[in-house]
């Protein structure tokens, strides 16, 4: 059920909430929903009257609707991650206000700063020209360096430590596999024996993590903004968790994000990517772990597509991108099997 209402209703609720937060009347202009994101809803919200802001300030509002893919949502993990990374070498928008109380805006939400720049699309055809060489290299260097910086953050004394739940280098992979196994049990509308086979393989081959790090969970082209060749912000912290840093390497290097090229996330030659990451992070990347997490990432992607298909089937929403996503389960599982085959 949609408890958020239309955009003018939402604008009114936002104005009331922000006025309470800042202790002054604010005016909210026409809000605009972005087509990006397949789970949380993302809006641009022009607000006038915020203390310290001259004129109108654009805020980003992220809403986790009760009909969304991984509902019920909480803004907590994203906010904890963003607060834990303030002052680090990871560029990200500043988190302002958030709440999980659906009485306020109809769903859990997070307001954050609108960072400058544009997203680089990961999905392009093989015959489309690649990125300009100098621009690509500049982005690739930052893409690796920011990831290493994220994985180096000492999180134990930061807000995100509340998400640790007893995770250790030894159990990080197994905890992760079991999480996605549960998601598949929740969302699959029919048996997927190859997914079951993949889960068995993943459980039997869990690597030990070099250390437990903050893992973005969806680190790839499309989830950062760039301006004039400079990465201005890492976005979409919805899947953030603590785990093996190799997980982000596996996800970023999925073939789905290569855009028909042989470059990781359309940016980096694989050998160079892993070598530079090793140098920046201070441990040698384990290619066995990368392949393991590529296989797990493909299972995770298949689970996401299963969720999309089920949510649409149950009439939780009519977003027509969801059944289109749901048609990609086979592609993910087939690729997962190939990856495991190569890793065995």
């Amino acid at each position: 059920m949609n408890t958020i209402g239309d955009e003018s209703t939402l604008a009114g609720r936002i104005a009331d909430y922000l006025a309470q937060q800042v202790g002054a009347a604010v005016r909210v202009g026409a809000i605009r929903r972005f087509p990006v994101g397949f789970s949380w809803l993302t809006f641009s919200v022009p607000v006038t009257g915020l203390p310290g802001a001259e004129g109108t300030q654009e805020l980003i509002l992220r809403l986790g609707p009760d009909y969304g893919l991984f509902a019920p949502y909480s803004a907590g993990p994203q906010v904890q991650a963003m607060r834990s990374l303030e002052g680090s070498a990871v560029p990200l928008p500043r988190a302002y206000w958030s709440s999980d109380d659906p009485a306020i805006l109809g769903a859990p939400f997070l307001f954050c700063e609108k960072a400058p720049g544009e997203a680089v699309v990961p999905w392009v055809s093989a015959n489309q020209a690649g990125l300009e060489e100098g621009y690509r290299r500049r982005l690739a260097e930052q893409f690796v360096d920011v990831l290493a910086a994220l994985h180096r953050v000492p999180w134990q004394d930061k807000p995100i430590a509340t998400m640790a739940h007893g995770i250790t280098p030894a159990n990080a992979a197994r905890v992760n596999v079991e999480h996605w196994e549960t998601q598949i049990q929740r969302w699959a509308m029919r048996p997927h024996p190859l997914a079951e086979w993949g889960i068995r393989w993943l459980k039997a081959h869990c690597p030990t993590a070099p250390h437990v790090a903050i893992v973005h969970g969806d680190y790839r082209t499309g989830n950062f903004l760039e301006q004039d060749g400079r990465i201005t912000s890492i976005l979409d912290w919805e899947l953030v968790h603590l785990g093996d840093p190799h997980e982000d390497l596996g996800w970023a290097s999925l073939p789905m994000y290569m855009g028909g090229s042989k470059l990781i996330s359309r940016l980096a030659e694989p050998d160079w990517f892993y070598a530079r990451y090793s140098e920046k992070i201070g441990f040698e990347v384990s290619m066995a772990s990368v392949r393991y997490y590529q296989a797990l990432s493909l299972l995770k992607l298949a689970a996401t597509h299963m969720a999309a298909a089920r949510c649409f089937e149950e009439g939780r929403f009519n977003d027509l991108r969801m059944p289109a996503m749901g048609s990609q389960i086979a592609a993910c599982l087939r690729q997962m099997e190939k990856t495991i085959e190569a890793a065995s």
């Binding site: 929903r33 972005f34 087509p35 990006v36 994101g37 397949f38 699309v121 990961p122 999905w123 392009v124 055809s125 015959n127 489309q128 029919r190 048996p191 997927h192 024996p193 190859l194 079951e196 086979w197 068995r200 499309g222 977003d319 027509l320 991108r321 969801m322 059944p323 289109a324 996503m325 048609s327 990609q328 389960i329 086979a330 592609a331 599982l333 087939r334 099997e337």
Partner: protein, 167 residues
């Protein structure tokens, strides 16, 4: 309906692209239209007209032919042309086939669980051979899924803009 299913899909996609997207500014709405185009292209390779109304039409014909044949025989006419006769064969419905496939996949899942439980007692070569056969079939199922799928349009759906050659 006198047009072919596939041609209608092509026409709908062309209209959405040429007549709707060209007049639509909102990015999210454009993403939805690309979602529709993506699904229509999937229907084109997976679907066709329902057989129910064709079955009803053929049933009606067969009943009429049977009645005509009975009438001609009753009146002693033997030189009439041969008419189609007999029960119309009932095709298996897609829902029945999907249930059969799902039963099969459930059986593969049970088989994998059994193999794992018996790994200590069964000969390793036997376990490997059974698993290979099962996986080969699972792969075939996925390959068929992929063969009957349209090109995903994630770029268009998440940006609201045309990014590559039209399918």
């Amino acid at each position: 309906m006198n047009n072919s299913f596939a041609r209608l899909i092509d026409g709908m996609c062309a209209t959405l692209r040429g007549e709707v997207l060209s007049r639509l500014d909102d990015e999210f709405a454009r993403g939805q239209v690309f979602g529709v185009i993506n699904l229509l292209n999937t229907f084109k390779v997976r679907a066709d007209w329902s057989t129910n109304f064709l079955l009803a039409q053929v049933d009606a014909q067969r009943q009429a032919f049977a009645a005509i044949d009975a009438l001609l025989q009753q009146r002693g006419t033997t030189a009439a042309p041969a008419l189609p006769a007999g029960e119309v064969p009932r095709p298996v419905t897609p829902a029945e086939l999907a249930a059969l496939r799902d039963d099969g996949n459930r059986a593969f899942g049970d088989l994998l669980a059994w193999l794992e439980a018996q790994r200590e007692t069964l000969a390793p070569a036997l376990v490997a051979d059974v698993e290979q056969l099962a996986r080969a079939c699972m792969r075939t199922e996925l390959d068929l899924e992929l063969k009957y799928a349209s090109r995903p349009m994630f770029a268009e759906m998440s940006s609201g803009t045309e990014t590559q050659a039209k399918p």
